[in-house]
């Protein structure tokens, strides 16, 4: 199948990739760009493990075709840490015990970070609603809620 050249910005770096038109953004990022943080848990947009931010909005990247990402700005879990330190959301997930097997975590943290960007002081119900598209089978979510609350508190404290 003829490949198509697309250009996208991934975690702040412009990348040019030759993709087959049926490739998803997820497989393009994982296989062609070797960023294996985002995961495929279902391939049908139901679990959220592949969550990325595209032009400021959350997407399930297993449902987005690579050509649709042409010219867009993409952030994956690999783009969150900066200057050798973790994003406060990443650190809060560790500190609150908000992770177990870790498979949902790259998508969960990207979704949580985006939630806090939009709403720096979410209520518990807003956190529950905001993360409803990201399934976690290990934690029962309690410590994830605590992690997001802790992250929000720390981000507000440092602002």
């Amino acid at each position: 199948m003829p490949r198509q050249l697309i250009t996208l910005t991934v975690n702040g770096r412009e990348r040019e990739v030759a993709v087959e038109p049926h490739w998803t953004l997820l497989e393009t990022v994982r296989d062609a760009l070797q960023l294996t943080g985002p995961k495929e848990g279902c391939g049908t947009g139901d679990c959220g493990a592949c969550t990325m931010v595209v032009d400021g909005r959350i997407v399930t990247s297993c449902l987005m075709l690579a050509p649709q990402a042409n010219g867009r700005d993409v952030t994956t879990i690999e783009g969150l840490q900066s200057n050798g330190s973790l994003d406060p959301v990443q650190q809060a997930f560790i500190d609150a015990g908000g992770l177990q097997c870790g498979f949902c975590i790259p998508g969960m943290i990207v979704a949580a970070r985006n939630l806090l960007n939009d709403n720096p002081s979410p209520t518990l119900d807003q956190i529950r609603e905001g993360l409803a598209g990201n399934l976690c089978r290990c934690t029962g979510y309690t410590k994830i809620f605590e992690a997001v609350e802790l992250a929000a508190e720390r981000i507000r404290g440092s602002a």
Binding site: D46, F93, C101, I105, R137, C138
Partner: protein
Amino acid sequence: MAQETKAREDTGTDGAGHTAVGRRVTRLEGAAKVTGKTVYADDMKLPGMLHAKALYAPHAHARIKSIDTAKARAAPGVYAVITADDLPDYKRNDSNRQGLIFPDKEVLFRGQPVAAVLSEDPHVAEQAVEMIEAEFEALPAVLDAVAAMEEDSPLVREPLHDVDRSEERGHVSVETEETEQEGEPSNIASSAPFARGDVEAGFAQADVVIDRTWRSAMVHQSYIEPHSTIADYDISGELRVWTSTQAPFYIRDELAQAFGLPESRIRITATEVGGGFGGKIYLTELMVAALAIAVQRPVKYIMSRKDDMLAGTPAPYAHIELKTGMKRDGTLTALQSRLIYDSGAFPGAPMLPGCMLIGGYYRCDNIDIKGYEVLTNKVSVGALRAPGAHNATFAIESQMDMMANELGLDPLEVRLKNAVGEGDPMPNGQAYPAIGLRECLEAIADSDVWRRRREVEATPNRGVGLAVGGWLGGLQPASAIVCLNADGTLNVTVGSADITGSNTSFQQIVAEVLKVPLDMVNVETGDTRTAPYAGMSAGSKTVYTVGRAVKEAAEDVRQQMFELAMKRLEVEPEDMEVADGQVQVKGAPDRAMTFQRFGKLSTNFGAPFPVIVGRGSITARKMAPGFSAQAADVEVDPETGQVTLHGYAIAQDAGFAINPLSVEGQMQGGASQGIGIALWEEMQYDQHGRLLNANLLDYRLPTARDLPPIETIIVEVPSEEGPYGARIVGEPSIVAGAAAIGNAIDNAVGTRVDEVPITPERLLRAMGKL
């Protein structure tokens, strides 16, 4: 990235003098997981690697007439198509799901793999699967386990022989065995009776007798990472497998037997497990290894979500008939039950633990329990966190509430009155060791959810319910190695897959024994060639057994250092102690040798000391069952039948919580799965044995929106053998949810639903509104 812990900053000791165990410690591998660096099997690529996609049987039961692979083989990019005829020699056992790669005569469930296509491009492989021309002749499919027990039922399959039950024994180790199928051909794979006393006399003494049938749906473990396996085989006879498994050594042993290879030539790496819950023991590895042997190239097989739902090993449907009698004062007088577990097309249903638990929570002089493992033409089942327990517990714990209600007794008091304790017999007659069932009940009484129940009940359609649940636990030998490095830090190597934070607990144990800060200790799960043996990470036994071995290995390091220090410190080992990263003379901390000095003296050129390597090796024979009590606060919408969960609490006996942060995580995670079983999760099959909801939209898992924060109360009744008194932790938390929520719904609207999940439709039907 340094591990951040509260314990690190605080170097003091707790009341019992502990410096590292009993503290909330964050995960050793936390930074790798939050940055996406952790490598799961699907993140790996090997040079020359092929992708495998399988053709899954389209019938629940059919004779294979022909499989024509010519078109698929000819498709551009296809490297090979492998059917039963193309497989390398292996020791086939048609009686076990894991003993049969591809069938050649008959398919037994819809979704059974029958062939595989290999290609460098997974999309090519997937498309070529569609080009395989397979012809089947449909046979009668048996789908209902209860009907399958009838003498005139069609047979699910050829008779069983030499059934291998080693995997089941890894989850629960009890002194009893099932009777395997014998005599006339039948769909009953095995059965087991348990009896004591005289149930008829017991029912005659009762003031209330309840006789009901309880059903619980087939559910899927639904780990977010589907089954993922890579295998590679080279011409020298070396087999390597990287796989998402809880049981690397078990797989090694099974593959060695299957291919006649020495265990020393097989190397299994348990890659980071993206959720297992009992479902990732041994399933795809034989097929992928056989494919790699067939083509002599690395082969990767990643199940899609649909594949995993069709052809994983979910948890069984169960039909449980239960008759119980109670006296006016709350004494349980008799318990009679027939438990039928739907095993699917191969044996392996957890019927025994169901029998043990249904008669195992409460003292009762008269019991008569019969368990049946029944075959049907559905996917065969496996373990899900305390396999078989929730099904049985839903029955007994619902009925305890019903009897209490009839007699006007408090549900908590009735349970406390009858709860088993140390010395009481299980259904098989074995006596319980020290357990914390009562203590959990006392603790749940103090939970916010239970304390607020009167206030909550005052709100229409709102109610609070309670149930207990437990698990007996598995037992297996274990070993560990602790090495002192040149700089005085310590490396720990174990063979157990870390699925629950167990390596972090091992780090704490070594830091505790040697009185060093946590960051001086690192822990690695080795592969089956580099690590000392450990049993499967199943049956909640990893910290309980491997933790003991780790403790022993750290003590060995300490003893070796004491003996080596004798000349220099001029005292006997019994007059030495470890503190602050050094070996010192008791009462004279200035007469000391630092760990770093030991490191140098045991590793440098011309060093005087031998290398310091501690060894721990244990056998585990004593059970340390774990119990929990759980309370749910629900609201029912009487028009739609929707149930909203407002609060949930769990009290669980951990023996001793080595890491309360991870123990709470296990309690909350298991509780959430129990809630899923109670309200949403169900694999739905049609009359042809087709799974109707093989995706995560229609198979409904609990979401963040559904679950309130779960309140946790850790109870600590020490076990006899576990490290620092720790007992099994991982599994008991899933067990009580179905009954706790059923009881809460009954408390809210006065309606008892006898089948989980309690969907709006089932609830409205039970309320007489449909």
